[in-house]
C-alpha cells in the first residue's frame, strides 16, 4: 500500500463533497475548512459543502509529465476556479474536456471521479473534479 488509508478516510468529506466552513460572523466560506475564520478571526463557523456550486475557470495548467500513478490521465488539467455563489476559490482537476476546449470564464460543475488508485489491489481514491456543464460543449460535429 503506497497511499495512506487513514488520510483518505479522514479527508473523505473534503474529497467527496468539498467540505468547508462558513463563518457565522462575516459570512465568508473558509475552504479548506478552518476552525478560525481566516478573514475576520471569528471562531463561530458552521459546516458547509461546496458540492452543488457551479464555478468559472479563472486559470489552468496542462501537466504533461504526470506524477507516478497518473500516467493514464496524461495530460492532467488542473484549474483554478471561482464558485458562482460564494466566490470561493478552488484548485481542482478538469475532466471530460480536451485541452483545446478550455476557455477562461467557462462554467464548470463538480462531479465525483476516480482521482487515483493504489496499484491493482489497493484503494481507489474518489474525489471531486470539474467538467463543463451539460450542454455547454456539444458534439464533435459542431
Amino acid at each position: 500500500m503506497r497511499f495512506s488509508i487513514p488520510r483518505y478516510w479522514r479527508e473523505r468529506h473534503s474529497h467527496y463533497r468539498l467540505y468547508a466552513k462558513k463563518c457565522l460572523k462575516c459570512g465568508r466560506i473558509n475552504y479548506p475548512p478552518s476552525n478560525i475564520c481566516r478573514y475576520c478571526g471569528s471562531n463561530e463557523l458552521e459546516d458547509y459543502y461546496l458540492e452543488n456550486e457551479k464555478a468559472k475557470v479563472i486559470s489552468w495548467t496542462i501537466i504533461y509529465p504526470a506524477p507516478e500513478g497518473f500516467e493514464e490521465q496524461r495530460p492532467r488539467i488542473i484549474a483554478m476556479l471561482e464558485t458562482l455563489e460564494t466566490k470561493t476559490h478552488i484548485i481542482a482537476p478538469l475532466t471530460d474536456i480536451l485541452p483545446e476546449e478550455i476557455k477562461e470564464g467557462m462554467i464548470v460543475e463538480p462531479v465525483l471521479r476516480r482521482i487515483k488508485e493504489d496499484r491493482e489491489a489497493g484503494l481507489i481514491h474518489y474525489a471531486i473534479a470539474y467538467r463543463p456543464v451539460i450542454g455547454s460543449i456539444g458534439t464533435k460535429e459542431q
Partner: protein
C-alpha cells in the same frame, strides 16, 4: 398484499459518459462484416472515461434524481446499487455513493447482482420497503461499465451509463406503480465466473429461451394480474441489449413501434446493462404527460424479467426540467478511436 399503488417515483435521473465509439470501428478492427452494426440497429456506444466507473456514473445519476426529488438526502433510508461491474469485488459501492451524497449514516446500503436486472430487483424491493413504512424514500441505482471480451460480438454493444430512481410515497410521486410482476428461471444464457475479466454467453440461448421467454412471460403475468391490455399503455420500455430485440419483443406482444421508440436508447449509446431498460424509462419520464401509462420490462441473464405498470401524475411537469435529461447526455458526445477506448476501459495491460 399489493403494495404498489402506495408507492411511486419521486425523482429520476441518468448519466451517459461523453465518449463514443463507432461500431464500424469495432467491425473494422476485428474483421466483422461491415453491415454488422446495422444488423444490431446500434450506431455508437458510450464509453466511460479513464476516471469513471460504475460508482462515479451512479453518483451523477443519483444526483440528478435528487435534484428532481427535491428532498433532503438524509431522508433516504436505503441505497441499493445494481451492477455487474462494481469497482471493488468486496467493499460496497452503495456506501461510497451514500457518503458522497450526504445520505450516511442513517440508511441501509448494499450492492445487488443479477446480470442486467439487479437494479430492477432493487426497484421491486424498494416498493415493498416504502409501502411497509420501513423507509420513507429509497434510492435505486442501475450502473454499469459493461465488459466484453475484445473481438467478441458482445463488444459491439457493451457500453457505459447509469440511471437512478428515488421511490417514495405515491402522494408525492411523479409517477406511481400500479402493479409489478417478476418471472425468473435458471437459464444459462450469459455468465462471468469469479476472477474472469469478461463474460461468456451460450450461443443460441441469449434470444429465444432467455430474453424473449422471460420478458413475454413477465409482461403476460402483469397483464393477467391487473386485467390491463396492451392498448392501455402509452409507452413500452424493454431491456435493450441491441436495437432490434426490444422492437421484436414489442411486436410479439402487440405493442406498435411508436410506443417503443421514445424509450429506445441503445441505438445511440449501446447496452448499458443495469441501466439499459431504466435509462429508457428515464427518457420517457423526461417527456411523459400526466395520466399516461408506461410498461417497463427489464431483463437480466441467468435469467429473469420484471414487468411494471407505471402511471404518470401531474407532479411530473414541475420535475422534468430540474436536472439534465437523457437527450442532453446523448447529444453531449465526442467520437474516440479504438485505441482510446482500449485505454479508457483498461483493455491495454500495463504494469502498475
Amino acid at each position: 398484499m399489493r403494495p404498489e399503488p402506495s408507492v411511486g417515483i419521486i425523482g429520476w435521473g441518468s448519466y451517459i459518459p461523453r465518449w463514443r465509439l463507432s461500431l464500424s470501428e469495432i467491425a473494422r478492427l476485428w474483421g466483422f462484416a461491415p453491415e454488422t452494426p446495422r444488423g444490431l440497429n446500434v450506431v455508437e456506444k458510450a464509453v466511460a472515461g479513464r476516471d469513471e466507473d460504475a460508482v462515479t456514473m451512479g453518483w451523477e445519476a443519483a444526483r440528478n434524481a435528487l435534484l428532481r426529488a427535491g428532498i433532503d438526502p438524509k431522508e433516504i433510508g436505503a441505497v441499493w446499487f445494481g451492477t455487474e461491474s462494481k469497482p471493488y469485488a468486496v467493499k460496497p459501492s452503495a456506501t461510497i455513493i451514500a457518503e458522497a451524497l450526504g445520505i450516511t449514516p442513517d440508511t441501509m446500503a448494499t450492492d445487488l447482482e443479477f446480470a442486467c436486472r439487479a437494479g430492477s430487483e432493487a426497484l421491486r424491493i424498494s416498493i415493498g420497503a416504502v409501502a411497509s413504512g420501513l423507509v420513507k424514500y429509497a434510492l435505486v441505482i442501475g450502473s454499469d461499465t459493461a465488459q466484453a471480451n475484445p473481438g467478441d460480438v458482445l463488444e459491439f454493444t457493451a457500453s457505459s451509463a447509469a440511471t437512478a430512481l428515488i421511490t417514495g410515497p405515491a402522494r408525492e410521486a411523479a409517477a406511481v406503480f400500479e402493479a409489478s410482476y417478476t418471472y425468473v428461471t435458471d437459464t444459462p444464457d450469459f455468465w462471468r465466473r469469479a476472477h474472469q475479466p469478461y463474460p461468456l454467453h451460450g450461443e443460441g440461448f441469449t434470444g429465444e429461451p432467455a430474453y424473449f421467454h422471460h420478458i413475454i412471460n413477465a409482461v403476460k403475468g402483469l397483464l393477467e394480474q391487473t386485467g390491463l391490455r396492451v392498448s392501455d399503455f402509452d409507452y413500452a420500455v424493454f431491456h435493450q441489449p441491441n436495437g432490434k430485440f426490444p422492437l421484436a419483443v414489442a411486436k410479439r406482444l402487440g405493442f406498435p413501434k411508436e410506443k417503443v421508440l421514445p424509450g429506445l436508447v441503445t441505438p445511440y449509446i449501446g447496452n448499458s446493462y443495469n441501466s439499459s431498460a431504466l435509462i429508457g424509462l428515464s427518457r420517457v419520464l423526461d417527456i411523459a404527460k400526466p395520466g399516461q401509462r408506461i410498461l417497463l420490462a427489464p431483463f437480466g441473464s441467468g435469467a429473469g424479467s420484471d414487468a411494471y405498470s407505471i402511471v404518470v401524475t401531474d407532479k411530473i411537469i414541475e420535475k422534468q426540467d430540474k436536472a439534465p435529461k437523457v437527450d442532453d447526455y446523448i447529444n453531449r458526445k465526442y467520437m474516440i478511436d479504438y485505441a482510446t477506448y482500449a485505454k479508457f476501459r483498461g483493455i491495454i495491460t500495463r504494469i502498475r
